[in-house]
Symmetry: none
Subunit: 414 residues, 2 copies
């Protein structure tokens, strides 16, 4: 879409009161950037009919594509439809498939449907309705005086699903022949953003096609390669050449492309090798296993775990010897190793992994928050234990511990 | 500042590319709300002179106070000053104290100052200069045709310091005495947004002070009450009167105010009653326990859990009888009850809770995704088990199962 000017408008007073940040606009912008569309404006306006109307007028004036998030719900505060109708005179009709879905939702739950729920099934006449797979109010796409308007719910999960299933494919099709944009994310673990950038600095400086952008991620770092070409094949070839050169230098830290998570990578490596795992989780409280079981088909790999938050559970269920607990404490290499070994045999798994440490905010057993031991015990009798000092608050320490566990397994299995 | 309309404009292409979220706007909005100023718009515009000018014209037209973040740095991309000059013809001069500071910064570090750094000391003639305590470019406040313009750096640390030291005190002084705004969120579980709104529709229709806004949340729903008054006490009294009336009708579903989560509420109820809990988690894979252990001090309440993802673990570790597993399956009321009872005794807890079901995407044991049993077994011998049919994908089903577990505990303990 050459030189298309896109704009993202969020409707919702909670944003103007500072209760949440406009992460929807960030996410959509990132997606549009990856297919080469230019976002020129973000706007946020509250749940006030007159002001939403005025914002929509400004947007209609200056942008080719206007993406609206929010204001489609059942309450009287939800005014997006009304504002667009006010300035365009587009009739609003009830969308039967959406209404049927809403009614059956309430029927199945045996809850009386209140009348305001009907509102969520109302759509603009002549619009392309986007089905809501994860909620009630459908999205809509409609043209108005040369502009494309796209209406999406404000709930991030619903919005993202509609963007992925309907809106982004539509934009890609609009591209037409001739100009293809292809983007790939290369994902790395165990290397920092600045080191990665340093290793690739000459490539990054020379970049034109593909562009090479290092990005810090929640899990490790990533490099986004974006190629423009006349065909899919050509764009793929441009990306593959650059990818090869990058992995020649940093392949040691590379674990996957695009949406692949480190958890999925570890899952796939275990499945390929026919291995099962059991975890003993203390400070991580089940988070390691929660992540693993979020992968469909997890039962092939994950036997389960013992969350031994209480020292008594370490002793009575995991059978860590009371000598270790008394003399070295639960936050110790010896305890971590015993946990890994014993959970492996208790859960009859090929690999046992354990996490013990201090999440904070208080110190524990004289050790400061962030002190963490992770141990692994595998079917060949190999044992390893590492000590870490993680920074951050309680949630960050727990999150980093889990991520490090997956990093250790990745190194072990890769 | 009665009925002052404020607007926050961020200048920076990185926001439009989705590289960062506009958390500056969130932070500023939250601060302004706390002193009773109404923010009517957020806007984001890229580093492009023409577009920044146009955005500034729109803002000058519609808002009384315009706060700009970003675009004051040393590079050619930093265009905030130029855009404002272009539309207002305000002369720009060098601010000697700022220039001295920049020069001594480079001298102290024995780095040659590149010429573009002079740009950072340039300010509007006639503006109130806000010293930058933590960086280089100063901020500015200036009036233009009845509007107040405030220019701040985009670096959050620098922006926040200037807001706290200079801008917020200035606004409070403008206020004069009186006029306080106070906002409270009331949180509910087990009732839908539309039903809640229906129950309170007359109150919502009559609302003036406080305003009453229902909001869908990740965990249940919430109602935001916002009061304006001449004093803190008066605002609190207005909110309390409305809260009382709302809870008279819907108090059964109410669990807490403001940032309190349902997990924290359950944690607090258990702590108050000196109760401990152990969980047996199948489809939820540790997520229930992960949430509970995210609360600081979790060890007082949470003994641990058995994540029995594999049927063998249900049988061998949790000692669910093989008869139950063979005849009724692992996705059954009998299995859920046995899991809850056995995990309670195995982990020596007061309450045992269990989760078993089908997360999908595939069916399991002839049951379709979303079929879930949750059981609770408590110290008095009370047992309960409920069957649910949750909608959504694998992650949604697991998330809803965990939330429902907390809802059941809340009902049990409240």
């Amino acid at each position: 879409m050459k030189n298309v000017k896109a704009e993202i408008v969020a409707v919702g007073t909670e944003l103007l009161l500072g209760q949440i940040a406009n992460t929807n606009a960030q996410w959509i912008s990132d997606e549009l950037a990856s297919i080469g569309m230019n976002v020129h404006h973000h706007a946020v306006v509250g749940d006030n009919l007159k002001r939403v109307e005025n914002q929509f007028r400004v947007s209609q004036e200056r942008s080719d594509v206007i993406i609206i998030t929010g204001g489609l719900g059942p309450t009287e505060d939800d005014l997006t439809r009304e504002a667009f109708q006010e300035i365009t005179r587009t009739p609003i009709i009830e969308h039967k498939p959406s209404m049927d879905k809403i009614e059956s939702f309430f029927e199945e739950r045996k809850i009386a449907m209140t009348p305001n729920n009907r509102k969520q099934a109302r759509v603009f006449a002549g619009s392309d309705v986007i089905e809501n797979q994860t909620g009630m109010a459908p999205g809509m796409m409609i043209s108005h005086e040369g502009r494309t308007w796209i209406f999406l719910p404000g709930v991030p999960r619903e919005m993202k699903r509609m963007m992925r299933d309907s809106v982004l494919p539509y934009f890609k099709k609009q591209h037409g022949a001739g100009s293809v944009i292809k983007s790939v994310m290369l994902r790395f673990i165990g290397i920092g953003e600045s080191t990665l950038e340093h290793e690739l600095s000459d490539l990054i400086k020379q970049q034109t096609n593909p562009t090479i952008a290092p990005l810090a991620q929640n899990e490790g770092v990533a490099i986004r390669l974006t190629a423009k070409a006349d065909s899919d094949d050509e764009a793929a070839a441009i990306i593959n050449r650059a990818k090869k050169e990058i992995l020649k230098r940093t392949g040691h830290y590379y674990y996957g492309d695009d949406d692949e998570t480190l958890t999925e990578k570890v899952f796939n490596l275990m499945q390929k090798n026919n291995l099962t795992i059991g975890a003993a989780e203390s400070l991580t409280g089940g988070q390691f296993t929660d992540k693993l079981t979020s992968v469909p088909g997890a039962s092939k790999v994950c036997n389960g775990s013992i969350v031994c938050y209480d020292a008594k559970v370490k002793e009575n269920v995991l059978r860590v010897s009371s000598d270790i607990i008394k003399q070295q404490g639960t936050v110790s290499e010896a305890c971590a190793l015993a946990m890994a070994e014993n959970v492996r045999s208790l859960l009859d798994a090929d690999i046992g992994i354990s996490f013990t440490g201090v999440a904070g905010p208080e110190s524990s057993e004289g050790q400061s928050p962030g002190t963490v031991f992770i141990a692994v015990h595998d079917q060949s009798g190999k044992r390893l234990a590492e000590k870490f000092n993680f920074q951050g608050d309680r949630q960050a320490i727990r999150r980093r511990t889990v991520l490090k566990g997956y990093e250790l397994l990745f190194k072990l299995l890769n």
